[in-house]
Amino acid sequence: MSGTVLHKGTPNAVSTDGRDIDQNVGKLSGEAAEQRASGAAEKHIKSYAQNWKSLPDEDTSDTTYYDRPMLNDPVWEWAIPTYYYVGGLTGASLALAAASQIGDASSREGLIRRGHTIGLIGACVSGGLLIYDLGVPSRFYNMLRVFRPTSPMNMGAWILSGTGGTAFGALLFRGRGGIIGLLGEFCGYLAGIFGAGLATYTGVLVSGSAVPIWQASRKILPLLFGASAMSSAGAFFEIFSRNPEERRITNIFGAVGQGTEIIAAIVMEKQASVVPRVGRPFKRGLSGFLWRTAAVLTIGTMASALIPNRTRKRRIIVAALGTLGSALMRMSIEKIGTASARDARASFHQQRAGYGAAEMTKARSA
């Protein structure tokens, strides 16, 4: 076994893997026998030592358990927020492509084709990012082992599969004659519907959790992610397309997204901050810094769209900054969740203020 260390305390050094079982004598057959044990303990210690570097909480009037977190940290790292961005761009592009298919689409063929191409590539990249983040990547196919509506992640796996499949179908069959062409047309529309789902379900994925700030954001987060996806798609076409009609369409689409994104962000922060302790990561630390920076970038790019007679170069710079804003927003949502999970008071205050299970029982009796 890799990472096996020698047990130094015994006269005849025996190999041990953190269980203090001499594997020459003892048999590993317990429930946790499958756990590989090497070096994890050191990592665990390091993560706690990291926590101790921060100062103790200034607010000690209420009860906690030595200010320790109540929840375990989310384990997602950079790949998942990146996926939120890529999946959003993919989904919104497909939704726009499907809308462009309606009516006399001959002048918009370029836009439609580009949308479907982004759709297919984006779905593949998304899949790659998701698989990379798994603890056991070789078992990714287990995601499609069941169909489970109670699990947003399972629904997402199906939506992503549908998106990739239909985008591929649209790319392959559209523009051909006869029944095959019709099938391609149908695939395009279906890809639009799947895409709109892909760009928004990630909001459900995040807010369907016990992390207090994510849970408190659940009524707005899918809107925020969806709107941000639209603005990402707008910025992407702004950079890569030279067709004026195409750019007119995508600019409107992106601007609607950007406007909605800003409103949704403001409403969400307000809603999550109803219990002040819950909303704290929006205002403090790295998470708050990222959240604010993303907001400034989004508002800035939106405002600069009002300046007339811009050169192509300048438009590209603005679009790139907007994209950066969208990506940072996704990253900040991840950081905000980690900060919130580490703050036991956020959960305690939220539930004491009646936003735990009480919220649901109240809603049912009303």
């Binding site: 429930e31 756990q35 706690y48 906690t64 358990y65 603890g135 539930q351």
Partner: protein, 265 residues
């Protein structure tokens, strides 16, 4: 089909010996989590996790327990464990179906199916289940599934020297726990109460299969006061998602209508 089994942990009987922690590690052959000194009373285990399925909390309070006459100090111990919720967040959110409810009504992670997506971790309102970095999969208390299949009781309950950890049929445990609370109240310890014994006690999880008798606020034991299984609330998010997806398609149509050539020509 056997009866639903569970734990009733009576924290007033716990002496903080950690025999349950050791027995759990030993039987399940769990690796160590590193040896560190926290300075948090006698608690060097800190929290439940992938390789810690029992955790004894040590609460030092500057207040006496009710029947205690002298001193302004009391020490509470409580052996924490997976609650095996009647409605389990980890189970409902698991995208692979790796987490199941077994014939004893316990929530069990099948290690040969779990692909380590990490979604159960953010869906547990108690912070019980965790992913083991070395291994990539999610792990937690199995209610000693293997021992139950061999007509043995879980290792922690077996090793508990004071019977603070009771194992048995859930119905019997609930009755026993209610009697115990009444007994304590009669003795003057009026702060004793049950945490999560029934659906009425804890509507958010619809009752715990591993419930507790506590004498202080849940927060003191690092337990949530009103936990809720996230899947109970996720409907709100799905509604917004549906409306947003529809709105996005409509916005696409509007963009084509206002920006397309068909209108300008």
């Amino acid at each position: 089909m056997p009866d639903t089994k569970g734990f009733f942990t009576d924290t007033t009987l716990c002496i903080g010996c950690k025999a349950c922690e050791v027995a759990c590690k030993q039987w399940n052959q769990l690796p160590d989590d590193g040896f560190l000194f926290t300075g948090m009373s006698y608690d060097n285990t800190i929290h439940l996790g992938a390789s810690t399925w029992r955790h004894v909390a040590f609460i030092e309070r500057p207040a006496p327990l009710t029947p205690q006459h002298d001193g302004a100090f009391s020490w509470l111990f409580s052996s924490d464990v997976c609650k095996h919720c009647a409605r389990a967040g980890c189970l409902e959110s698991c995208p692979t179906g790796a987490i199941i409810r077994n014939e004893y009504g316990a929530v069990y992670v099948q290690p040969d199916v779990c692909n380590g997506c990490g979604y159960c971790i953010v869906n547990c309102p108690f912070g019980v289940i965790d992913r083991r970095e070395e291994d990539g999969r999610a792990w937690k208390c199995t209610l000693c599934y293997d021992r139950l299949r061999s007509d043995l009781i879980p290792a922690c309950a077996k090793s508990c020297p004071t019977e603070s950890i009771h194992f048995g049929n859930l119905e019997d445990l609930t009755k026993m726990a209610k009697d115990r609370v009444q007994e304590l109240h009669e003795k003057g310890m009026t702060e004793a109460y049950l945490y999560g014994a029934t659906e009425e006690d804890q509507p958010g999880t619809e009752g715990l299969h591993a419930f507790f008798l506590l004498v202080d606020k849940p927060e003191a034991y690092n337990l949530p006061p009103d936990p809720v299984v996230p899947t109970k609330k996720v409907g709100d998010a799905w509604r917004t998602m549906g409306a947003t997806a529809a709105g996005m398609l409509l916005a696409g149509l509007a963009s084509v209508f206002f920006g397309g050539r068909t209108r300008t020509s």
